[in-house]
Amino acid sequence: MRTAWLVRGRQMETRFAFWLAAIGYDRRDRSFQHRLYLAYALLFMTGWVFAVFTLFASSGAGLLKFYNPANTAAGAADLALKLTLAWVAVSLVQVSRRSPFVFSEDDAYLICQTPLDRRAVALAWFPADWLQKALPFWAALVTLGFSLAELSLNGNATAKDIPLYVLTGLRALGAFLPIQLGLSAALWAFGALRLSGYGEPPWLRWSAWVGAGVALLGMLPAAPWPANPWRIIFLPLAYPLGTGFGLAPWLFGAAVGLALAVLGLLALWAATSELNLSVAAQETTGHEAQQAASRVGDFEHSRALRQRERLGLGRPPTQLRAGPGLWVLPWKDAVQSMQAPGWLEILGWLEVLVTSLAGALLPYWEGRLLAAILWVIFLGQVATRRLREDLAHWSLVRLLPVDSSRVLLADLGLSWALSLLLTWLGLIPGLPGLGAAGPVLVLLAPFLSATVLLAAAFDVLHQCSVSALLAGNAPTVTGRGALLGLVLAGAPLGLVWWLGRQPIPPAMVAIVVGGVSLLTAAIAWSLASSAYREIQ
């Protein structure tokens, strides 16, 4: 028992230390000043969280007035019930397909292969995962509580109303917490049934779907029990949740919630005596690796692991026709994009479109400038994704009998065309408002997008080292790449602004600015292609 708790405790301690490090606290530093800083940081975070909840409460109050204008507290309780039922429905299906007990690769060797008591491992693993999954629900419940406080004050809140907010939020949370603990434990127990003994019980999957269906049925708009007698099945959840919003005495609700929590934990205890930890580890090590990568901010690795899971084992060969030589690179890109459309990539391109649209439509130069800066950052990041992917496969791509400049061209060409298309699409609606600058921007867009993209590529290539690339690690675009893009693309834009105020014919302005932007694009190309050749 103690071993499982010791290992899990250490894991949680490390995770917690990561978040403490994120706010600048080093747990090895035991000086008084450092502890004082921790107290200050916690106080600051508490204040910040409170401020965020009160901010959300304004929208929440609006939602509650819209949802149930006659009885906002009943509306809040109903929303909380629906949220809980939706979560139960999704979780039921999830735990019937994959183990709720998540083990890392290290756990798979160090814990799952040992003869530790299965119940002890299950009970040691449960609290941290429960906490992690429960936090968003707690936030939602506190927001609903704050919203009710906001409504009771009719928007005239002052500093002396802080205790009212806190108490209303805690009342809602206090009612929900034991219910969610019990439900989580029961869901884990259900998942444990699949992982016990020599095989999955045949009734398990369909009963999960039936349970999910019943939970979804409870979300349908219908009058509560006793008006609808069949809704009595949701009463053990609806009643304690209602007490969290003042619909009945809170203590009664807390007692029902506590009973649910005890029942859930007992179910977990009973269901885990023959838990097969090896199967659980087989099902979850990949998922845990993804989560671990996300936790430390390595989203690229996490994305790659998720993509790998989505791809499955294999598939028949693509029917897409390929050309010889350099043309095989766009073919490879097309096959990659078709097999695993990257949602992050699509989002990145949308950001390029939105920022160019914002740059064209915003009425103030300050806003346009901010949009232009964001456009440079987003374009640099999304347009170099394919280049970085190929760099991470250095031993495949660099051996190809293709000149490095052409590889660079193949990696960036399509991104450039797409970025130009999206930039033009963004600029067109704003053309009337841009005046004389509009057509000039449209003409400059091909050079500007090329310059920004190449500056970002230069930044990536300049950071590359062969040893890292051979290990599959390609660097990301840094602030330096964005800054270089801003400087190089900003030069012709600044010239447009300055020449526009001089007594020079517009045609001459266009020629001069066109020449300068061509020059900056050429400089960026020269920097990037030379950095590619010189990778050490």
């Binding site: 790659a304 499955g312 991470a392 031993s395 051996l399």
Partner: protein, 216 residues
């Protein structure tokens, strides 16, 4: 004696103050298998990376049939094949598609299907041809890496620890392939810790230590 297929002169590689490869000269003759041996960190992989064009040497040059590897990279790379000890693959491409990708990149698409099928069968990967290589075992990945080299024409084959993850049958098959390449007049340079492989296969053995060639 004919001109060597590959010559390296004054080739060196440093990482800051650390010299991984001391200036050295090397020539690979047609129809010759050369084994590169030495302890871990002796500089074998660095030498192979420099000879393959994956890692720019700090000094020196590499000529592949008269083409400078770093100035005339396209014709030089057409003639070179390199199999790293840990090959990497695109995760969205299957084994078959990797072979097609490489064959087409080297403009060797004619008769690709027959050649690919024969190689896959020979190395026991036929059944796994439509799988993604990230599901392969280490040995299977190494075999696919070898096939990516063998699917297209070349004159010089560089191999980094080619048998480290292979089962005995596959290692024997590889040895057979290398004999065949030697008979066809190609040059092979392989780094290995296997004295058996060196003894059976190599026409010449180059021992490395601290980035130098030393007496074997």
């Amino acid at each position: 004696m004919t001109d060597p297929l590959l010559t390296a002169s004054g080739l060196s590689r440093s990482y800051g103050k650390f010299q991984a490869l001391a200036p050295l000269d090397l020539a690979l003759q047609a129809g010759e298998i050369t084994a590169l041996t030495g302890a871990n960190g002796a500089g074998k992989t660095t030498l192979l990376l420099c000879l393959s064009g994956l890692l720019r040497p700090t000094q020196g040059e590499v000529q592949v049939e008269g083409f400078d590897l770093y100035r005339q990279e396209v014709p030089a790379k057409q003639r070179l094949a390199f199999v790293p000890d840990v090959p990497r693959f695109y995760q969205e491409l299957t084994a078959w598609e990797h072979l097609r990708f490489i064959a087409l990149a080297y403009s060797a698409g004619d008769g690709f299907e027959e050649r690919a099928a024969a190689l896959l069968r020979e190395f026991g990967l036929w059944e796994a041809r439509d799988l993604y290589p990230h599901h392969f075992s280490r040995g299977m990945r190494l075999k696919l890496g070898l096939l990516l080299a063998l699917i297209r024409p070349f004159r010089i084959l560089l191999l980094d620890e080619p048998t480290s993850a292979l089962d005995p049958d596959s290692a024997a098959l590889l040895a057979e392939k290398l004999y065949k390449l030697r008979q066809d007049g190609l040059a092979v340079l392989l780094s290995t810790h296997s004295s058996e492989l060196t003894g059976k296969l190599a026409d010449r053995r180059l021992q490395m230590a601290d980035g130098h060639f030393v007496e074997a």
